[in-house]
């Protein structure tokens, strides 16, 4: 493995836990917590995959995803969306905007690991 993951999430304890499990699996994990500057962070870090929370301060994860997909450079970037709302319309919106995977909170560590591995292995 050994790819890089950018985790865009604002809940410190979730960041800590995900960072820990991904690091132990051999990933390099960077984190970012502000929605407004998230796209810039992606440009600066150029990760192999991003884990993107929907509810972020200042800007929604959907808007961030939309911007990324509009940029030719990030059209194919694997994006795992995290949300606390598992409603059908949220899932549909994420799919429409081009999310690679969609995961509803609370998820298990195993699920996250498996999905991240699958997305970069694709």
């Amino acid at each position: 493995m050994g790819g890089t993951v950018l985790l865009i999430e604002d809940e410190p304890n979730i960041i800590e836990a995900i960072r820990f499990i991904l690091s132990r699996d051999g990933w390099r994990v960077d984190t970012h917590s502000d929605g407004l500057t998230a796209v810039d962070a992606v440009r600066a870090r150029r990760p192999d995959l991003i884990v993107l929370d929907v509810m972020l301060p200042n800007r929604s994860g959907y808007d961030i995803l939309n911007d990324l997909r509009a940029d030719a450079e990030f059209k194919e970037l694997p994006v795992l969306m995290l949300t606390a709302r598992g409603q059908k319309k949220d899932r549909e919106l994420a799919e429409k905007l081009g999310a690679s995977r969609f995961m509803t909170k609370p998820f298990s560590n195993g699920e996250v690991l498996e999905t991240v591995r699958a997305l970069v292995g694709q």
Binding site: E16, A17, A84, G110
Partner: protein, 451 residues
């Protein structure tokens, strides 16, 4: 017409329903078949002993034949029938049903009221779940915290060795998160409990206020007796039935106005004038130098004993959008609770011609035995100042007039709401009626005579 409103028509319908031949019924009642035929076609009056024996032969109450089952309950049954799209109802027989099984009919009506109430409750709760920012934020909070706890405890539970420093950190996180979870669930439970209490207030504030006024016969005795009290005091004294703050605030507005109305025309003066025969709101207004809507509002507070026939007047007020803001029903005229009302009420004619008084006599379709004399006036007030939108209000007073049996239809028929109105060819119809699905497309016809 879905509901024959005349005694003869009712006799005919009951007789046919029961499969009795005209000659047979005539024989039982000691009259000739041709005379019965005239009665059944409303060409001879019937009353007294003969009506009693016809009723006995048909096994119905005399009152059911002479008055029909209450128009209110029949109307309510029709509304109930219209709320469900299923087939197989016999709308044209709702009066018959109400007459024969008054208890069951009442049950249907009450169930319909309950169904509407529950439907509104579901809508409100649904709105709350979908759009309530507090609920959605606290659920998000709970889910985030649970996610952190699940992830962190998952790491600790694997049994793999984790550096002591990390272990301590995760334990601390778990502790923090469990604290947060406890707080946010507590807040959520508190909120949902309050929501449970709020159910009582889910009937519309206006309904609540009108139910309260109806319990007090639409009168505030304290003011009528000449005791000038602050509105808050009146609410504290007689308004304890008002549970929601929105209804209390509507009641406060109503009472402010009531108080000013009484100040301008005190109860004793009003009663003396009406007892002396003054029943025209325009003349009452002139005599006491008050404006016409105020005179109408004052008259609508008087009990039935001040009027011929013992029926108190009704009063309907709407705002500039036509929304009914005050609905005091009168026997035979029950303004709709939900949905829009009949567009041809004089109330709305007045609304489109502010400051022009409109007076007309009308009857409700299907109820030829009750007519109303009505007075309406719309006013616009520029309370916000020049170049600001005016506050428009139209007021209609309805006084029941007992019609003579067999008198011809008044020139002007109205309904309550399109869904349950049988007027054919009404140019102002908004939607088809459940009472005449097949006639919807027909043009011309009766009703709306002189408009």
């Amino acid at each position: 017409m879905a509901r024959p409103a005349l005694t003869g028509s009712r006799i005919r319908r009951y007789r046919i329903d029961r499969g009795i031949k005209q000659a047979e019924l005539a024989r039982q009642c000691d009259i000739s078949p041709s005379y019965l035929n005239l009665i059944e076609h409303n060409r001879r009056k019937i009353g007294g002993a003969l009506l009693n024996s016809v009723a006995a032969a048909l096994e119905v109450d005399t009152a059911t034949l002479s008055e029909g089952a209450g128009a209110a309950i029949t109307g309510a049954l029709e509304v109930a029938a219209g709320s469900f799209a299923a087939s197989g109802r016999e709308i044209e027989r709702s009066e018959d049903f109400a007459g024969r099984f008054p208890g069951w009919a009442q049950l249907v009506v009450e169930q319909q009221a309950r169904v509407s109430e529950l439907e509104r409750l579901v809508e409100t709760l649904n709105d709350r779940l979908t759009h309530d920012p507090f609920l959605s934020a606290s659920l998000h909070n709970v889910l985030s915290t649970v996610t952190a706890i699940r992830s962190t405890s998952g790491i600790l539970a694997t049994g793999e060795d984790i550096e002591a420093e990390w272990q301590a950190r995760f334990h601390r996180n778990l502790y923090e998160d469990s604290q947060r979870l406890a707080e946010s669930t507590e807040a959520l439970v508190g909120y949902l409990d309050a929501g449970g209490d709020a159910d009582r207030t889910l009937s519309l504030p206006q309904d609540e206020m009108e139910a309260w006024l109806s319990d007090h016969d639409w009168r505030i005795e304290a003011y009528e007796e000449g005791r000038d009290m602050e509105v808050d005091v009146v609410i504290a004294e007689v308004g304890t039935a008002l549970t929601s703050s929105a209804a209390r605030s509507l009641a406060a507005r109503f009472l402010e106005r009531y108080r000013a109305d009484v100040m301008a025309l005190p109860g004793a003066d009003l009663e003396a004038a009406v007892l002396a025969g003054e029943r025209d709101p325009m003349r009452l207004a002139a005599r006491f130098s008050i404006d016409l809507p105020r005179a109408m509002r004052r008259m609508a507070t008087l009990p039935g004993r001040f009027f011929k026939g013992g029926l108190p007047p009704g009063l309907v007020i709407c705002d500039g959008s036509g929304t009914l803001t005050f609905r005091k029903p009168v026997r035979g005229f029950d303004p709709p609770r939900f949905g829009a009302s009949c567009a041809v009420w004089p109330l709305f004619q007045a609304l489109h011609r502010p400051l022009t008084p409109v007076s007309s006599e009308l009857s409700l379709v299907g109820q030829d035995d009750v007519r109303f004399k009505t007075w309406s006036l719309a006013t616009s007030e520029y309370v916000a100042g020049f170049d600001k939108p005016p506050v428009v209000e139209s007021t209609m007073l309805l006084m029941p007039v007992l019609a003579q049996v067999g008198a011809e239809s008044p020139p002007y028929q109205v309904g309550t709401s399109c869904r349950v109105c049988a007027i054919k060819g009404c140019p102002a119809r908004r939607e088809p009626s459940i009472l005449m699905q097949s006639d919807v497309a027909s043009s011309g016809g009766s009703g709306l005579g002189a408009m």
